[in-house]
């Protein structure tokens, strides 16, 4: 539904988006993940047709957004960040205006506005002036606007920003239900959001795609890179031994009780065989006279993956290691 090919957007010498390619299929919810300022909004704005790309191609529902901009825009329902709305209009008035703007035929307008309001559950607020709505309801009006013309593709920029936990849950459920009819691309900087709503995630950092895959695939990335050791004996010595091994990025002492220490070892990005490294580590610990009680791949939260992916980029920026890692990360 959305095809993005080698997309680049530069402002003068600064590249906000660098060579980004990805696809979003029908009935798929894809999370676009990255820290603030990574280029999420810029990418989404290009797909929605608000900004022009410096290089690259975007095809939405089979229509190239440069060759057929107006027709392509009829296929996209876009909700901008912070949901800008006209405060002086009533909810139903606004949605009717948006439906007309999006070329919904007059005969179907009333029905589709009703349906959109029903889908986001704001029928009881249809006659409220938008300026008087709470943040949560404004967000819903934004969603209703995005879906009112029943476009093939929904592009939502931080749909849950600024909402309270209950509202966040509601909006997430809503987005999941929208996937039945639309392909959804949503941006966020919150990992748990991807976990609860998305089938797949794209991780972007400093304008570049650093990882892509299903949530399990992303978690594996992390799993292969950290191992937890539970050791009985001198904790300091265990720390020493593990730190000296090759392929270790850092060692983190987590827990200490009586003589038992838990240490988490993070392998460097170049360590391709963490299992083998784990064997080596156990060996080294035993030789040092320590008792190994447990060695297991660390359970990774997506937050860790996110931190790892975006942090690594920063560490090795503009070096060879950087490129090696990116290949690994995106494979």
């Amino acid at each position: 539904m959305i095809e993005v090919k080698r997309l680049t957007k530069s402002y003068g010498n600064v590249a906000a988006v660098r060579d980004v390619s990805f696809e979003v299929g029908a009935h798929e919810v894809v999370g676009f993940l990255g820290p603030n300022g990574a280029g999420k909004t810029t990418t989404l704005r290009i797909i929605a047709g608000f900004l022009g790309a410096t290089h690259g191609r975007v095809v939405v529902d089979g229509l190239d957004i440069v060759e057929e901009p107006i027709r392509a825009r009829t296929r996209v329902g876009y909700m901008p960040e912070n949901v800008p709305l006209y405060p002086e209009m009533r909810v139903s008035e606004y949605l009717r205006f948006r439906a007309e703007l999006k070329r919904v035929p007059r005969a179907k307008r009333k029905e589709l506005v009703q349906r959109a309001m029903h889908d986001v559950r704001i029928e009881d607020h249809a006659n409220v002036i938008i300026g008087q709505l709470s943040k949560g309801y404004r967000q819903r009006v934004g969603l209703a606007d995005a879906i009112v013309s029943r476009p093939a593709v929904l592009v939502l920029d931080e749909p849950t920003a600024g909402l309270d936990p209950n509202q966040i849950r509601e909006v997430r459920d809503l987005i999941r239900s929208l996937a039945k009819h639309h392909a959804v691309l949503l941006s966020t900087h919150i990992m748990s959001e991807v976990e609860s709503t998305c089938d797949r995630a794209l991780v972007i950092d400093r304008g570049r795609l650093v990882a892509e895959g299903t949530l399990d695939e992303l978690r594996k990335l992390r799993r292969s890179r950290a191992t937890r050791f539970t050791v009985r004996g001198d904790g300091d010595e265990a720390y020493e031994v593990l730190s000296k091994l090759t392929g270790v990025r850092d060692v983190h002492r987590e827990d200490e009780e009586d003589e038992v220490t838990v240490l988490e070892v993070r392998w460097t990005a170049k360590t391709l065989d963490p299992a083998g490294k784990t064997e080596e580590a156990v060996n080294a610990l035993v030789i040092a006279g320590l008792r190994v009680r447990e060695a297991s791949p660390a359970k990774a939260s997506l937050d860790d993956v996110f931190a790892l992916l975006t942090e690594d980029e920063g560490r090795n920026d503009d070096s060879r290691a950087d490129e090696d890692e990116e290949e690994e990360g995106s494979s």
């Binding site: 608000f50 900004l51 027709r71 901008p80 912070n82 800008p84 006209y86 002086e88 209009m89």
Partner: protein
């Protein structure tokens, strides 16, 4: 021209649903009414009237009270057009809808123009009042209102452009006023320079002499052309400005 009607309707709605238009129209009509009262009071004491120096001519061009609202109203009507949409961010949802830039710009100008016409409409009552006292030359009335429409159209074009150049309504208002009042002041140069190029240029852009002609029933194609170019050129540049946001 996709998107013209919805944007036109929404802009008109936005002007009239907020107090802006009503406040502006009240001030405008108060000033015009004051002007009209002043002139009728003045002419009531005149024994005989020259053919081309009646109350209509004075009303449409020979008093500063006419020009003040004429200069101020258009910038106030257009200051919101784009500046407010950009400040509030709604421009993003507007331009990502399947609309053409030209349609949006034209719709915003047309909405402002419609409001401008609505503001002038009640002044037609003055003609009705004058008719009770004597004959009214309908051709003079027609050409005078034509002048008011043409000059207003041009000023609104400038106003829409200035609104697109700024994110603040207030800055848009000041910029537009600077241009319309500036144009008026340059026009006054017609009476300062006796002859030569400076005089010709000043006379060409002079709003005062334009309205003086229109209020005498003279319709000069040069004036019409000048006013229409004040519509077309700024609106064309506005379309370019709005398109340029995509490539910023």
């Amino acid at each position: 021209m996709s998107g013209f009607w919805p944007v036109f309707k929404r802009d008109l709605f936005a002007i009239f649903v907020t107090p802006t238009a009503w406040v502006l129209m009240v001030i405008f009509l108060f000033l015009e009414g004051f002007n009209f009262y002043w002139l009728t009071a003045h002419f009531a004491n005149q024994v005989d009237l020259a053919v081309d120096q009646g109350p209509l001519q004075w009303f449409f061009g020979d008093t500063i009270l006419f020009y003040l609202p004429l200069l101020m109203l258009p910038p106030a009507l257009t200051m919101r057009s784009f500046a407010e949409e950009r400040r509030a961010g709604t421009i993003e949802s507007l331009l990502t809808a399947p609309v053409s830039t030209a349609a949006v710009v034209l719709a915003k100008w047309c909405a402002a123009f419609a409001t401008y016409l609505i503001a002038w409409a009640p002044t037609l009552l003055y003609i009705v009042i004058l008719r009770r006292a004597g004959d009214v030359d309908w051709r003079v009335v027609g050409s005078s209102y034509l002048g008011v429409m043409l000059i207003g159209a041009g000023f609104l074009g400038i106003g829409v452009l200035m609104s697109a150049m700024s994110k603040s309504q207030f800055v848009a208002l000041v910029l537009a006023l600077a241009v319309t009042v500036g144009l008026f002041i340059i026009g006054i140069g017609e009476f300062i320079f006796d002859r030569g190029l400076a005089h010709d240029i000043c006379a060409h852009v002079s709003i005062w002499s334009q309205m003086a002609d229109f209020s005498k029933g003279q319709i000069d194609s040069r004036h019409i052309l000048f006013d229409l170019s004040l519509v077309v050129l700024p609106l064309f540049i506005t379309v370019r400005v709005v398109d340029s946001w995509r490539w910023g």
